[in-house]
Amino acid sequence: MATMAGVAADPHAYLRAQTSWRPIEIVFWLATLVPFFLFPSYLALASQIAITALFALSLDLILGYAGIVSLGHAAFFGLGAYTAGIITKPALVSLALPAFKILSFEFPGLEIVSFEFPGWSDPFVGLAAAMAVAGVFGYASSFVIARFKHLALIMVTLGLGLLLHEAANRASWLTGGSDGLQGIRIGPLLGRFPFDLYGYTGYTYSLIVLFVVFLLVRRLVNSPFGLSLRGIRENPVRMPAIGAPSPAHIRKVYTIAGVIAGMAGAMLTQTTGTASLGVLEFQRSADVLVILILGGSGRLYGGLVGAIIFMIARDQFSGINPQLWYFWIGVLLVTVVMFLPNGVLGGLSRLLQSWRARTS
């Protein structure tokens, strides 16, 4: 617990030490470029991994750092995915008040606004729109989230996710319902690089977005704000007592996580050109939880490593019966909870520590 003593002595020095780049991190990010040279036929999968990693990273912010257990995180992912798709479609928007009658007095119909929406196919516009929509939903729901804990919190997140899934299923005029969204047109990136079948553009795009967001998140969790989040996770009663208001912090981080999850959803729509109800399903919320737990929560790289393992395994075993796949996911969850409480990364770091202790 030497590092914790350092916190008490000089928090700034502790934070600065945390933000310095370790060699293994640089190696990790250089390794993300390897698929371009060694596995060019797997670039489409690589971009899926990067998107899933971004999604897991957003869950890590609220689960790993603020300790909010969410079973409905796919809500943001789905909002982002649908927004990025819908905004590319041309549509006739007309907002009108229909004619109505009160006591034999007839009011005429009133057209408030009506225009031809051309559809914006630029990927960055779609990304920004997805961030905005997911952010607004995240901010609105964060007021609810901050009020709950334990079972009620799990139920509220689950309920919001189910509610949104059902809403998208029923609002087929907007989302296409169970047939999925039709007629998405994704324009070329920066007006120059179209999204190709091999995934060159897709992987470049998702990797850059992932890296930029990762930098921001890394900065965020190693800031005083990040420290107070960890404080809330460890003891939500004590934090307000020492002057850090928990609900306000939870609202902020929940909104930020929502925005990031929305970006991940938008990138899925843009790189695959499709959006279907699957983006909002409970299964997706459960999967991302599994991914984060597998990698190790509360350690930034946990979601990334988990996404790599999970997605590659699913790709390799895609031939097998999906029931069997979930059997092994179940076994994995039980094993991780029983034997590997901090995920793969936690297990590795414990091995490393015991190895160091033995050699020194």
Partner: protein, 287 residues
Amino acid sequence: MLPPVFGVLFDGIAYGVLLFLLSVGLSVTLGLMNFVNLAHCAFAMLGGYVTVTLMNTFNWPFLATLPAAFVAAAAASVVLERIFYRRLYRASDLDQVLLTIGIAFISVAAAAYTFETQQQSIQTPSYLRGSIDFFGLGLARYRLFLIGVALIITLLLVVGLEYTRFGAKVRASVDNQRMARGLGIDVDRTFASTFALGSGLAGLGGALAIELIGLDPNFAFTYLVYVLIIVSVGGLGSIVGSFAAACLIGISDIAGKYYVPELGAFLIYLVMLLVLMWRPAGLFGRR
């Protein structure tokens, strides 16, 4: 002649009491140990498959399979409790959620492997088929039977918890676990028996559910949502609360499907969120 709204009400209550049987065990164990058991409906599913197997393969009469479903689910829950659950009583919500989701996944896969993925069906005895005419309203006999069973069980539970020594121990442990331990109550053993009882009731509910809502390997997740909604709306550890919440959810679901089919399941999620916003601890919750 009674208007059709009574028919909707009757169906809603029959559906509600079924949901009550499925969820009451979870409500009590959650209130007792604060253990978030997302595998609860896996025990219900087990009960359902026990009934299906006994009836279709071994030709047992329907009523005789119901106690078997209860016992099988209770026994399975005791085994899992001894091996896994007891180690996590003091662990975080997250660990409990992960473990029990894992067990639910395994149970779904095992059920799909053993019984294939199709809907199971059973042949209910002739005296439970058809309906009784009640002032022009056709009341299905099976639903009447279901309501009767649920009322008897509720009565037994309430009497058992209010007037027996075991019930007093359970109530004491729910109210104040540390104090109960201090008074020499073996809270762990009390919990284990309550857990077995609750899972057994879920198994019974699963067996009774086949005729009304069907049974397939996804049962463990499909009805988990309903059960969790009922538990959180009714309030933890409250039998009356679970009963009221189950009837509320059952009636709003059936009424919603009948009058506003375009909303689908949207309505009950909305009911749950509104109730939770209004009273985060549930309708009958104390904390």
